[in-house]
Assembly symmetry: C2
Homo-oligomer: 415 residues x 2
């Protein structure tokens, strides 16, 4: 547990935002469960939501709000402990009422509030509790590190650690700051799509990114999509895409640095690093995780083929249980790759684990060293490389093992 490491946010926070969190009584634990972020002026927003066919009320409401405002957000409202999903029209109404409460307190219109929820599906949101806590939440808003950390902590559920990342860069004497926080742990197999009404929805992973760059919603969206593709859309804990996944990027413009010229490349690089760091931290803190495995698939016919193979291996119970005991049973990798729906010639495939060759030329590598491979897999973090020998397609995908603890966490029901 490291939820209040005072060195977790060493850089300045972006200008133009305030954060807070309070206890609304939604989490059974009684911990803070209602987080609010407020923008001094309406911020430009880029949002990506789950591509699940089943989406929670806050996703439905969030899409409407973004369509109505054209991508402007004055406040963010997050509750943890209840997903407000499969709750019907009453769930949508509850979400709407909570947005109105926050908008009234912040002095903006309700469709400038972007809502998020995470927790159990199918249980009515205790909206009265939530609304009752809004005044305390808005009164507690502040610009300090403690405020941002409180926000980042309240959104957590089965997470054991705070997940934050920062970047700053200076151009022409002005500094642009980027602060991001995330919630993960379980039901993590994101596949986010832009928040257009036409898009299908997809995990409960929640990610909030705040910057004081001066950029439009359209510019932010163009930068967010590739950053998400290479980070949050390239991780999996259990492969179970949620109904509530949300990645939100807000830009206040308060740095006075416009998104043009050198600032674009600098911000894109900063955004990619923050997204990568948060995505990695999500897997590292996944439910029951004892090994973080990076899958480097290359030589596929296309990047899509490489992703399909990585996702199938990342979702394979036999691969994931082998990783949990550092079992160098590489045949399971090959079998999983072979069922990914991607054509390849096994004789062209080369597989290495932690840099040690295990399979090539259609059979076990002559250099295969079981003890050394077991030792490499005993580390908490290592890389498995799969070179397919078919074409230029590649991907880098971060996943984890499947342990007794994962089963315990998700099978803890008792009468």
């Amino acid at each position: 547990m490291n939820q209040h490491d005072s060195s977790s946010l060493p850089l300045p926070l972006p200008l133009g935002f305030r954060w807070s969190a309070v206890r609304a009584g939604i989490k059974a634990s009684g911990k803070p469960d209602l987080a609010v972020a407020a923008c001094d002026k309406p911020a430009e927003a880029a949002v990506m939501f789950t591509s699940n066919q089943v989406v929670a009320a806050p996703i439905i409401v969030g899409r409407r709000h973004l369509a109505a405002t054209g991508g402007r957000v004055s406040g963010v409202l997050v509750n943890a402990g209840n997903a407000n999903c499969a709750t019907g029209d009453l769930g949508i109404e509850a979400c709407h009422r909570s947005c109105v409460a926050v908008a009234d307190a912040l002095g903006c219109v309700f469709d400038e509030i972007l809502p998020s929820s995470t927790g159990i599906i199918g249980v009515p949101l205790p909206v009265e509790k939530l609304i009752a806590a809004v005044p305390a939440a808005t009164q507690a808003l502040g610009r300090a590190t403690e405020n941002a950390e409180a926000f980042a902590t309240a959104i957590l559920t089965t997470d054991t650690r705070l997940k934050v990342a920062q970047e700053s860069f200076t151009l022409g004497g002005r500094t642009v700051n980027l602060f991001g926080c995330a919630k993960g742990a379980g039901m993590i197999g994101p596949h986010l799509l832009p928040a257009t009404p036409a898009a299908a929805p997809h995990a409960t992973m929640l990610v909030y990114l705040f910057t004081d760059l001066d950029a439009s919603s359209r510019q932010l969206s163009a930068m967010l999509s590739p950053a998400v593709a290479a980070s949050f859309n390239s991780i999996s804990i259990d492969g179970d895409m949620s109904t509530n996944d949300t990645v939100l990027l807000l830009a206040s413009g308060e740095s006075g640095v416009p998104a043009e010229g050198a600032a674009v490349a600098s911000f894109e690089a900063a955004l990619q690093r923050v997204c990568h760091t948060l995505a990695y931290k999500i897997v590292d803190d996944g439910e029951g995780v004892t090994h973080v495995v990076t899958l480097e698939v290359s030589g596929a016919g296309s990047d899509t083929d490489a992703q399909a193979i990585a996702r199938t291996i990342a979702a394979s119970p036999l691969c994931k249980t082998a990783w949990s005991s550092a079992d160098p049973n590489w045949g399971r990798l090959l079998a999983a790759a072979g069922r990914a729906g991607v054509a390849f010639d096994p004789a062209q495939v080369r597989i290495s684990i932690g840099g040690l060759p295990v399979f090539e030329s259609g059979l076990r590598s002559v250099a295969f060293d079981e003890a050394a491979t077991h030792a490499a897999m005993s580390l908490r973090e290592y890389t498995i490389s799969i070179q397919l020998g078919q074409g230029p397609g590649k991907t880098r995908f971060v996943t984890c093992d499947l342990t007794h603890e994962y089963v315990s966490i998700n099978a803890d029901y008792s009468t």
Copy 2:
């Protein structure tokens, strides 16, 4: 353990076949691991193999043999304890040599032998041990129940129970017998395709079906495909399709009943029952299984859509762990259905568990009874029905929970 229940095969065995099993020393346990079936005369055969891109040597060799003979088989050779997969040209040569040894002992040509292997991937097959055991195996061949049971027992690996099924029917005073046996337990997510060279391969599930019906290879293939689609291709334990999956149907013709007229419908029904029984037994004896769950998905746009939803739920770690503790967390079913790549309107969906309504009209059923649903899920076997309200597509899919014991079985590596 019930590997030698004397009442497991109460009906007469099909005429024209002999079976045996011996210890070749391939299984670390020292149990019988080499099974042989011999046909008195070359039998007509229908075969379906895995659709995995990576296939074991016996699949490669088996395809060649079937192409060479046009679907005639004089003998079946199965070893358990080693998959002979990812073993390169040496693995193919080892498979060939073992077929030659059996063919010589039976007095047939080598391409009338159909080989199968199951066990670890990537370890060279100890072919000398296998060949050394062939004389004892062919000498032990017999027509008795004990012989058939010995065959069905030797093919097992992590299975805890013998899996056999029988059917008989009489037409015009003549009786047709069908005997089937199967091996399952882990790496069970079959998707079998006909054994034509053009087909892509797909699990290690092994199924052998013997009948004395008088039918051609073409007739048998036409009857086997739909029976497999509704049984072995509609089950999943861990979703990890193997490199060695094989379903073989052999017909000796010795009943004197040709596959025409009423015999076709009678045999099709018998075949479907045997396949269904064996498929269900495979899931029931899956690694660590404590609950067998039948998913009835209906109202989909197509059967393919219904299958995609069933397969996704059956592979969902969150659904499977909830089942292990009889947790009525039906939201996980809905979330998994929503990531199956199938379009549907959640408001039209109705879900029931053990006949008890849990979700309808977009939210938790007003009749939802958590305690009763928990009680229904506490049974070892129950059905989850998902009516999508989109069209006529449907499927019936049998799967199981994910337990601590599954993790233990598959993460048992130690230095």
